[in-house]
């Protein structure tokens, strides 16, 4: 793997995203991601990551996951099922959605988990399916404020920047514990400050180009009152707890958030904020896959 470099995978959360990608690979990516994407555009895609990491309400339906798996098979790939964090009883809804897929033999190659409860269930009921620790649980420093500080890196000690380039799974003891509980790989972000060249015993996956910053259950779209003139008074956002408030009203919308103290703008998709970094590390040999985002993740 070190000689060949990482495999190329894509992350999609809807069937139209998949179809658009495979139909218009170069055009779709060039428009968003620029030259580096264009250089990758004609490399074969080895893996399909399908699902969501951050919002249980936007998880594709069971039948769509099966369709995505068929799509992957037709392209000579198998599916990595991506699952989000799930608070309270949302976990039961998520489990009911994905369990039929996991129960079918050879549909799913691996599962990415972003929830400790989901990890426990997958390991208990489907111990043969490899599990990867998703970005949510593999902690990293991806604050947009650090991007601003990169303009004057000497203002912080070298040891801090070394730390800021790590993720939780770079700690060999943490990685060993993950391995002991049946986790086979970890996924991480590609922040502006870079990633450290640490080798560890788990498979590693790099996400690109949308760097996850923060996520909420107090979703603005879910709390939106529909007032055509905006809120008359500043609203206090409440957790979106099904079945009351979520009809996926965020789908089809992206908003840019700017704070002048941040070194980079943020993009809000549903309940999660990201910033864009299209500069891949020079050395990708440590990674099993680089997962390209067909769209801003959710």
């Amino acid at each position: 793997m070190a000689e060949k470099g990482p495999g190329r995978a894509i992350l999609a959360n809807t069937l139209p995203q998949l179809e658009t990608f495979f139909r218009n690979r170069a055009d779709a990516l060039l428009g968003r991601y620029g030259e580096q994407a264009a250089r990758n555009a004609f490399k074969p895609v080895d893996g399909l990551w399908f699902g969501v990491e951050f919002c249980v309400h936007r998880m594709p339906a069971t039948e769509h996951i099966f369709s995505a798996a068929d799509h992957a098979l037709r392209k000579g790939m198998r599916l990595t099922l991506v699952t989000p964090y799930a608070a309270g009883r949302d976990l039961d809804l998520l489990w009911d959605n994905v369990r039929p897929v996991l129960a079918e033999k050879d549909v799913v190659q691996r599962v990415t988990v972003n929830d400790w409860g989901m990890l426990a269930r997958v390991r208990q009921h489907f111990p043969r399916i490899p599990v990867y620790l998703g970005r949510v649980l593999n902690r990293q420093r991806t604050s947009p404020q650090l991007v601003d500080l990169l303009e004057k890196p000497q203002s912080l000690p070298r040891d801090f920047w070394d730390y800021a380039g790590t993720c939780a799974a770079d700690n060999a003891r943490f990685a060993a514990w993950l391995k002991s509980i049946g986790v086979a790989g970890s996924e991480q972000d590609n922040p502006e400050q870079g990633v450290r060249p640490v080798r560890h015993r788990l498979a590693r996956v790099l996400h690109w180009p949308w760097v996850y910053v923060t996520t909420t259950r107090r979703c603005g779209y879910g709390n939106y009152t529909g007032d055509a003139h905006g809120a008359a008074a500043a609203p206090l956002l409440q957790p979106v707890v099904l079945p009351a408030r979520c009809g996926r009203q965020c789908e089809g919308y992206l908003h840019e958030l700017s704070v002048k103290e941040f070194g980079v703008g943020l993009v809000l998709n549903g309940n999660t904020q990201f910033y864009f970094n299209d500069q891949l590390p020079e050395d990708l040999s440590r990674f099993q896959f680089v997962v390209e985002h067909c769209h801003v993740p959710c």
Partner: protein
């Protein structure tokens, strides 16, 4: 048969809560921070039942800045600088018959800092302190494997959002207490406590209102607006800074613009955080501990919060009608905190 390997040895050492070692208190107990420059005697003499603190040595700060703290607070003033002063404060707490937890609840650590925490944990255990607040499950497993048998409280940053996750981690590393995230509704709190019994549950009731899922947020809290480190008085809470919002994609352009204005307005809600009005429901749900997230604030602020919540807990025990309770709680807020409460401060509003 458990499907997760248990860390060798610890299972024999820790009694479970339902064995009676940790009887659920009849009314909630208040947990207050103690910082390095607090008037410890005054805090110990207050109505607070338990305390928590952090350790952040200057040599670590010099190397990494407080942004890579050994606990969740990224300011030097929020922690003790060394074990000697921490132990001196701990001795006062224990002499008063109260509990002290030490927080090593940063979301993740480099491997070297696991050893730093282990060395400190051994002193904490030898001194008979009450437990550790931790948020890195790998650190929890490492400490258990190294022979630490202190009770563990899983901090908010552990990211335990459901009963299955709580039961998993409890089986894997042995938990005594879970500090619940602030992203739940009251009904969800009730449900989670009922679905994962046998543990103590703690919620944050004062300050530090988090708009996001705290455990999954990657914002840095250790900077001021100018990008300078360790300025608690002028600290920047990134998620609370007003955002300018523009439409990037919109299925319906008019709705997209309306959403943008709504999101901007939501970003301007003043910072605060209070769960006083929800204390009766939280207590009824089985939450036994009320945490004041006021590390870094002066002792006087801590004392005011302690006295306010002590009164509210006593009020909650009187079985008042909910509206009557809330009216009285708001009056107490005015009296003890010298400010009327704002609806935008409510954790469970």
């Amino acid at each position: 048969m458990p499907y997760f390997p248990r860390v060798r040895g610890w299972v024999r050492c820790l009694p479970r809560a339902e064995a009676g070692c940790l009887a659920r208190p009849e009314s909630m107990r208040i947990l207050s921070p103690i910082d390095g420059n607090d008037r410890v005697r005054d805090l110990v003499a207050s109505p607070a039942h338990e305390f928590y603190c952090g350790l952040l040595p200057p040599e670590h700060v010099a190397r990494f800045t407080p942004m890579y703290s050994l606990n969740r607070r990224s300011f030097v003033s929020c922690s003790f600088p060394d074990m000697e002063t921490l132990r001196a404060a701990a001795a006062q707490v224990l002499a008063a018959g109260k509990k002290l937890f030490v927080a090593f609840n940063a979301p993740f650590y480099q491997e070297r800092e696991y050893r730093t925490v282990l060395d400190a944990a051994r002193v904490v255990e030898a001194d008979g302190l009450s437990g550790l607040i931790l948020s890195d499950p790998g650190l929890m497993a490492f400490l258990r494997a190294s022979g630490i048998t202190l009770p563990f409280a899983a901090g908010v940053d552990t990211g335990l959002l459901n009963a299955a996750g709580i039961r998993f981690l409890e089986a894997a590393v042995g938990l005594r207490r879970v500090i619940l995230d602030r992203c739940f509704s009251l009904r969800e709190v009730t449900d989670i406590v009922a679905s994962a019994p046998g543990l103590e549950y703690e919620v944050i009731v004062s300050n530090s209102y988090c708009k996001n899922v705290d455990g999954f947020c990657r914002h840095v809290h250790g900077l001021n607006a100018a990008g300078n480190v360790d300025d608690f008085a002028n600290r920047m809470i990134p998620c609370w800074y007003p955002h300018t919002v523009e439409v990037m994609e919109a299925g319906d352009p008019e709705r997209g613009e309306s959403l943008a204005r709504f999101l901007e307005a939501a970003s301007r809600v003043p910072y605060g955080g209070c769960a006083a009005c929800a204390l009766p429901e939280l207590q009824a749900a089985g939450v036994g501990f009320a945490k004041l997230a006021v590390r870094g604030f002066p002792t006087e602020r801590k004392l005011a919060d302690i006295r306010f919540f002590a009164e509210c807990i006593e009020l909650a025990a009187r079985g008042l009608h909910p509206e009557e309770y809330r009216a009285e709680a708001r009056a107490l807020h005015e009296r003890f905190l010298q400010a009327g409460c704002r609806a935008t401060e409510c954790y469970y509003g």
